[in-house]
């Protein structure tokens, strides 16, 4: 099946007073219809910028998309006129943000915020829009939806607000939902509820989903494919099962090893990734991960490793990807 979304060599730069930051530096990936893809990385790695680029919502004037293509359902979004892009945003591609409090309008009722999207994108009457809003609230599991429709965001808890965001995202039956850290601001038990809900609904309606997160654990249960970002680049990409079982980049390996796991015996000592997150203004020569890497070889400081095949549908941007597994065994 043809891909629903194909990002090719995307470059989004931020022009700051300290110089140019390559927030997204030549990123390529694709999402098939109905597929769930995770984009994993730490703060500042460019994962949110990459999602905002797809929506063409990169903050102006500092940010600009300086290169690449974003092919969505056969069209390059970067060549569309603003007016055409507006018809896609919310209708064909929807977004769920991290902070449900600040992404809902505090002075509009929940009902109005759902009907607003519906009325903007389809020729529905006020009555129809209201009916549909009710149906959506029911769908996302909000109790007493008739009453809730006329309430304001501050009357909702964090989890309930995130359900409303999901309802709004689903309202126009999009083909793709971008969820940027959808559960990071929520409690553990509510996180589980929201993720199960998102999975059930995207499966039910065949919506493709891109989950952006910093937590590899969160997506293990939900993702079909995982892309790991570091310092503006995708450094590893593989099927979910493959990447957790057989990581081929020292950063991914480090992330997996540094977190305590409930299903395994307690370790006496954790095995952290040493050093600091990369300083985007001052990246080292060669591989950005070099200063923190324990598998580095001479070549790493000279040439940036390209993202290349490292297994079945598995790509890694590491010069020692092939031997990483043996070295891991030796070092542990």
């Amino acid at each position: 099946m043809a891909d629903l979304l194909e990002v090719r060599d995307l470059r989004t730069y931020l022009h700051t007073s300290h110089g140019v930051v390559k927030a997204v530096d030549g990123v390529s990936y694709s999402v098939a219809p109905g597929q769930t893809v995770a984009l994993v990385g730490e703060s500042g790695c460019g994962k949110t910028m990459s999602a905002l680029s797809i929506m063409r919502l990169v903050p102006k004037p500092q940010g600009s998309i300086v290169g690449g293509e974003i092919i969505f359902a056969g069209r390059d979004l970067l060549t569309l006129k603003d007016e055409e892009m507006r018809r896609i945003r919310g209708a064909e591609i929807a977004m769920i943000f991290q902070e449900p409090m600040s992404s809902l309008n505090p002075v509009l009722t929940i009902g109005r915020q759902i009907t607003e999207t519906l009325e903007a994108h389809s020729a529905v009457s006020k009555e129809e829009a209201r009916e549909r809003a009710l149906e959506l609230l029911r769908l996302v599991g909000i109790p007493d939806p008739v009453q809730r429709l006329s309430e304001y965001p501050h009357q909702f808890s964090g989890g309930m607000r995130q359900r409303v965001m999901i309802a709004i995202a689903l309202s126009c039956k999009p083909k793709l939902i971008l969820a940027d850290e959808p559960t990071t601001a929520l409690d553990v038990t509510i996180q589980a509820q929201i993720l199960e809900l998102v999975r059930d609904l995207t499966q039910k309606f065949g919506v493709a989903l891109m989950i952006i997160t910093h937590n590899l654990g969160v997506v293990a249960r939900y993702a079909d494919r995982v892309n790991v970002m570091y310092a503006g680049k995708i450094i590893e990409s593989a099927g979910a099962r493959e990447i957790y079982e057989n990581p081929r980049h020292p950063y991914t390996l480090g992330l997996l090893r540094s977190v305590p796991r409930l299903d395994q015996p307690r370790k006496a000592k954790l095995d952290p990734i040493e050093g600091q997150p990369p300083d985007l203004w001052n990246l080292p020569q060669g591989c950005s991960f070099l200063p923190r890497c324990r598998f580095a070889v001479g070549k790493c400081g000279q040439e940036v490793p390209p993202l290349r095949e490292a297994g079945d549908s598995h790509r890694s941007a590491c010069w020692v990807a092939e031997t990483l597994q043996q070295q891991t065994v030796l070092s542990s």
């Binding site: 703060s43 654990g217 293990a220 249960r221 305590p260 409930l262 954790l270």
Partner: protein, 335 residues
């Protein structure tokens, strides 16, 4: 020393005891003639003790009262009722002036290393301030030497003393927060979600640092967190809180191997595991509903409104916390 008579626990072993601690915050109504309309029961009658040299983990969701408990122990918030015995002395009844010398022995590391360091002070000023305030001249040495020592203890370059917080990364700032807590050579540190605001790759570094420091200086920690996998890693014993109450207390291994309270079970099952194969086989207890408001908590057992095994009686009677297995207490009538 004000040793209370009904002490059943061995105070030799415990550095801190919390007995019947309550903290209610008033809700006011009216703009001018303010009157108290109700009370938020942030912490509602909890008891536990912390042994010398151990790490006690305190877990629960936001709003369960875990941070308030930490603040009440340090008397940053004064308790509404109950006792906080630090080495036998009841801090809850102590006047501020009497508390001050004791504060040296009890410090706190905050969650957010961005807002807990003064942006206008250099790292050196931040670290020497507690020493100046408490007028401790460390062995007659200069403050600068002590600051340099503190920085190297937490794994930072002593040259950082001249920098400002904004020049540091999140992980480095949290190291400064830890160094500040260590400046007065305390015995006891409350770590309030010390790694939640940090990047995943940095969290393990800070956890390892906290463990090293504990060993090196013989520290006792109250480790407040919401992440059960982190709490299991660092704690010797664990207290689980829900809506202002303690629902379960046990040793680490016991709690994870034999969780008794249905809330603890649900919390454990909500923790994601970074392995799709494990996750595929795993049964999830997804709790329905949300944490009720502490302004108006449910009657009977506070958890009954979300509990998968609740019976009629649960909504009528408040379950006592009792020892169900050796050294394992839970507040549930169904276990």
């Amino acid at each position: 020393m004000a040793q209370t008579q009904n002490s059943t626990l061995n105070t030799q072993n415990s550095i801190l005891e919390v007995r019947g601690l309550k903290k209610y915050f008033p809700i006011y109504s009216g703009l001018f003639a303010q009157r108290v309309e109700g009370w938020v029961r942030a912490v509602d009658d909890i008891s536990f003790s912390i042994r010398r040299g151990e790490t006690l983990g305190l877990v629960g969701e936001s709003g369960c009262g875990k941070t308030t408990t930490g603040r009440c122990i340090l008397q940053l918030d004064r308790p509404t009722a109950g006792e906080v015995l630090f080495e036998g002395q009841n801090l809850a009844r102590m006047a501020d002036a009497a508390l001050r010398p004791l504060r040296r022995q009890m410090q706190i590391v905050f969650q957010d290393p961005y807002s807990s360091l003064n942006p206008r002070m250099t790292i050196g000023q931040i670290l020497s301030e507690p020493i100046r305030v408490h007028r401790i001249s460390p062995d007659g040495r200069r403050y600068e030497d002590r600051v340099a020592e503190l920085l190297s203890v937490v794994g930072l370059n002593p040259l950082m003393a001249g920098r400002y917080p904004h020049e540091l990364s999140g992980g480095q700032r949290q190291r400064v927060g830890i160094a500040r807590a260590l400046a007065l050579e305390p015995k006891f540190i409350v770590c309030d979600e010390p790694i939640s605001a940090l990047d995943v790759s940095i969290q393990a570094q800070i956890l390892n640092l906290l463990e090293e420091l504990q060993e090196r200086f013989g520290l006792t920690y109250l480790f407040i967190a919401h992440d059960l996998s982190v709490v299991r890693h660092i704690s010797d014993r664990i207290v689980v809180m829900y809506l202002g109450k303690v629902v379960e207390i046990a040793d680490r291994q016991e709690l994870y191997e034999n969780p008794l309270h249905p809330y603890t079970k649900a919390l454990l099952s909500a923790v994601p595991i970074p392995d799709p194969l494990v996750e595929a086989k795993r049964e999830r207890v997804v709790l329905g509903g949300e944490v009720p408001s502490p302004l108006n908590p449910p009657h009977g057992c506070i958890f009954h409104s979300r509990c998968p095994i609740a019976v009629e009686e649960c909504s009528q009677r408040v379950p006592e916390i009792r020892e169900v297995r050796p050294n394992h207490r839970a507040a549930c009538i169904r276990v």
